[in-house]
């Protein structure tokens, strides 16, 4: 009774404090949004408004709404034409894109093959210093024989070539972005950018030259709200209309209790994994990695901590991927097996059950909670995990240069199985994405073959072997595929989730009521 009263009093205090935070931080209320405007909260700021530069998830989400690309990935993870209305592959090294007519940039210019050619050549130009340059390494030439035909040529057969066709197209002659650039170049997508203030807001308005459905959002205000609690409060107060993949699973029941909010939870492709540095002799021993895999109780973490908002993973490719093969070695929770493997690897348990095996685990403040779970689970089998928390920029820098012993990260938007080449091939060490310095000649051969084979059935067979080999040798310990969880105001109808978390659907959903109904309390 008393404790219930105290708990109630505490909740009152918290909600007062929380609304004070909200009033202080929001500064814009429902009345401040013009009709037809929806507010979308991001947890982190997009790094670039130039689609040739931004590779971070926030930039991709934003730029997809503003720029068109030759091809885009649909809700089934398949390539469909965006600017291209027809694609031909006459030889294994050549792709011809036939462009749609009457496509205009938001400044009125017509989009032609020249703009496409320019976009790709400027990404390849070292002066732009684009991180996307590496992903176009296989592209030998891009030609524009006429205004509505683009021909891409690769030096060798390159199976994932269509991935290169997903770059956002900017107008011919767009200069490299200025350091202080606010709004980026004009695009031909559904929205245009009115203003952008890093770490604060991005204001988007309909591109009048792009067709759109009646009652779809007229404008989008993207607000950067780093604190998860404030994001939840903004949804609950009706200030924010949409928040995707950035809320704690534990807060979802609380949000669900608000009648004017709805939650869309669908299986996702975001892949979370444990990563090991192979320059460390202890971690190079596959028995140690297997012992770690058996010691992590992934099923319980997914159930209790993630509240079932993820699926235990078997590899990089989620079951929805055409090349997925789940018939691989699984590592169910088995601490006894784990201890045996560690004994075999030459790390006998001491009197207190601990072994001479201390591993540094780097993470960010947001990752600390998960790190503590791993720490506790590994301690049960005698491994001491020293958790080192550093803020994101430092952390990411150190991981990208391969300066870590063990960590946990995620890949967002895996589509083509060639991802296996990019992360595990021994030629892809930093600045490439094989930050683990993993090297396995058998796997190297397979992923290279997979990259050079165009025939889909052949590729499928190759990647089935790749998935089996990776699950046996464990360059990564697979953790889970996170669901796509979006919480939105009920006035947003017909939202369609994408497995890769894309927010393209913000352009096509419909708003109910004139300018949206007020949240009913």
């Amino acid at each position: 009774m008393v404790s219930a009263r105290i708990a109630h009093a505490a909740r009152v205090v918290v909600s007062i404090a929380a609304s004070a935070v909200l009033v202080a931080s929001a500064g814009c209320d429902r009345a401040g949004h013009p009709p037809g405007t929806i507010q979308v909260d991001f947890e982190i700021s997009p790094l670039s408004t130039d689609p040739r530069i931004g590779t971070d998830a926030a930039s991709s989400r934003l730029n997809e709404l503003i720029f068109d690309s030759l091809m885009k990935i649909d809700r089934n993870g398949e390539f469909v034409g965006d600017l291209a209305e027809r694609v031909e592959r006459p030889t294994p090294t050549e792709i011809i894109f036939h462009l749609r007519r009457e496509v205009r940039f938001s400044d009125g210019r017509e989009l032609t093959a020249r703009d496409v050619k320019y976009t790709y050549e400027s990404i390849e130009n070292p002066e732009l210093r684009s991180p996307k340059r590496a992903s176009l390494k296989e592209l030998k030439a891009i030609e524009a024989p006429d205004d509505f035909t683009v021909v891409m040529t690769t030096a060798n057969p390159y199976a994932p070539a269509l991935e290169m066709a997903t770059e956002g197209i900017v107008p011919d002659g767009t200069p490299p972005p200025l350091k202080s650039a606010s709004a980026g170049p004009p695009g031909s997508g559904p929205f245009m950018m009115l203003s952008f203030t890093r770490d604060e807001t991005a204001k988007l308005e309909r591109n009048p030259l792009h067709k759109f459905e009646p009652n779809s959002p007229a404008a989008i205000l993207i607000k950067i709200v780093p604190d998860a609690t404030v994001r939840a409060l903004e949804l609950a107060e009706g200030v924010c209309d949409f928040s995707g993949n950035n809320l704690e699973a534990d807060v979802l029941p609380w949000l669900r209790a608000h009648p004017f909010l709805k939650i869309s939870a669908t299986p996702g492709t975001t892949y979370k994994y444990l990563s090991f540095n192979f320059r460390d002799a202890r971690l190079r021993d596959v028995r140690v990695r297997r012992a770690i895999a058996y010691a992590i109780d992934r099923a319980t973490i997914v159930k209790s901590m993630l509240r079932d908002s993820a699926r235990v993973a078997t590899g990089l490719l989620a079951p929805e991927n055409w090349a997925y093969d789940g018939d691989v070695t699984a590592y169910p929770y088995d601490p006894e097996r784990s201890r045996q493997l560690l004994d075999e690897a030459g790390y006998p348990a001491g009197a207190d059950g601990m072994r001479r095996l201390q591993i540094d685990f780097k993470t960010t403040p947001e990752g600390a909670r998960l790190a503590e779970v791993f720490q506790a689970m590994l301690q049960r089998v005698g491994i001491a995990l020293n958790v080192r928390t550093v803020e994101f920029a430092t952390y990411y820098g150190e991981i990208q240069s391969g300066n870590f012993e063990m960590t946990s990260l995620q890949w967002i938007g895996i589509n083509d199985p060639n991802q296996y080449y990019m992360v595990f091939n021994s030629t892809q060490t930093p600045p490439g994405m094989n930050r683990e310095y993993y090297s396995n000649p058998a796997l190297d051969r397979l992923v290279e073959a997979g990259m050079r084979t165009i025939d889909v059935d052949e590729r499928k067979k190759i990647y089935a072997q790749v998935q089996r080999l990776a699950a046996d040798d464990l360059p990564y310990v697979s953790l889970w595929w996170s669901d796509n969880v979006a919480v939105m105001n009920r006035r947003l109808a017909n939202f369609e989730p994408y497995p890769n978390g894309s927010l393209r659907s913000l352009a096509t959903l419909t708003l109910q009521g004139p300018g949206g109904a007020e949240p009913s309390r």
């Binding site: 404790s3 105290i6 708990a7 505490a10 909740r11 205090v13 918290v14 929380a18 604190d227 998860a228 609690t229 939840a232 409060l233 704690e248 534990d250 807060v251 029941p253 609380w254 319980t300 973490i301 159930k303 209790s304 901590m305 403040p365 600390a368 909670r369 790190a371 503590e372 779970v373 720490q375 506790a376 689970m377 020293n386 958790v387 080192r388 928390t389 550093v390 803020e391």
Partner: protein, 270 residues
């Protein structure tokens, strides 16, 4: 009885601080729940008989964590204050005794350190040294020693001119006798006040640094990192932030009241 009425700060301060010290020393012995034991199934559960303060997001007992956090908080602040006291007193005393340019130089150095907001200096140092308890102690000491240096230097300078000290010197009192019989009793009061306030301040600073991820590393329970970890669950589990928040608030209040009470005591005697 009368003294209590006259000096309520001292009474309340002593009560809070004594309770805290007892809780830190005996709590973990009496309430024998492992503060590190993870039970994911019990994550975020509210207060119950088995877990009077509830459980955190990993199902760890909050009461056990608060009690162990008290140990960490108290021992770090005691160590930091003791170190600051020794370092500050030695530097301040030496400067006063040396006098002249050395004194000037040392005191300008003190001014420079004081010119930085203390907590910013500690954050900068902790960021450079990296997270960890020893680095935390160094960072907090670097922020805390100047106050003691000023007090000791001031007292030594005034004492040197006092007639009874001059008399003692003339009578051939040895420097060590001067130090123990005359200097120490004179500085003890102000130093005690400064140190008591200092402990309160350091508890807050330690919590702030741990909150920012620059202090105690997980899984070590510290009030600051508990507060940080609980922040994400403010809406669904307010007990995660209430418990360590109250502990921080109460203990700082206790030490400040105690310092206040001592100041009144010392002041009324002088």
């Amino acid at each position: 009885m009368i003294a209590r009425v006259r000096n309520p700060s001292l009474t309340i301060g002593v009560t809070i601080v004594a309770t805290m010290i007892l809780a830190a020393l005996l709590g973990p012995l009496l309430f024998r729940t492992d503060p590190l034991a993870i039970d994911l199934a019990g994550s975020l559960t509210g207060p119950s008989l088995a877990h009077p303060f509830g459980c955190d997001s990993l199902g760890r007992d909050m009461l056990a964590r608060v009690l162990w956090g008290a140990r960490l908080s108290l021992s770090i602040s005691t160590v930091v204050v003791a170190l600051s006291l020794v370092v500050g007193s030695v530097i301040g005393g030496a400067a006063a005794l040396a006098g002249g340019r050395i004194d000037n130089l040392v005191m300008r150095a003190v001014d420079i350190v004081l010119a930085f907001p203390g907590i910013l200096l500690a954050i900068a140092l902790a960021a450079i040294l990296g997270p960890g308890l020893i680095d935390l102690v160094i960072a907090l000491t670097a922020m805390g020693w100047t106050g003691y240096a000023r007090i000791v230097r001031g007292e030594v300078l005034t004492l040197r001119e006092r007639e009874y000290v001059v008399a003692a010197t003339t009578l051939g009192a040895s420097p060590s006798r001067l130090l123990t019989r005359h200097l120490l009793p004179a500085v003890a009061g102000p130093l005690a006040v400064q140190a008591t306030f200092g402990i309160g301040g350091i508890i807050g600073a330690e919590a702030a640094l741990s909150f920012l991820g620059l202090g105690a590393m997980p899984p070590t329970p510290s009030w600051g990192n508990m507060l940080d970890a609980g922040r994400a669950f403010l809406l669904v589990a307010p007990h995660l932030t209430t418990a360590p928040g109250l502990a921080i608030g109460l203990s700082i209040l206790g030490f400040n009241l105690l310092g206040d009470g001592i100041a009144q005591r010392v002041g009324s005697r002088a």
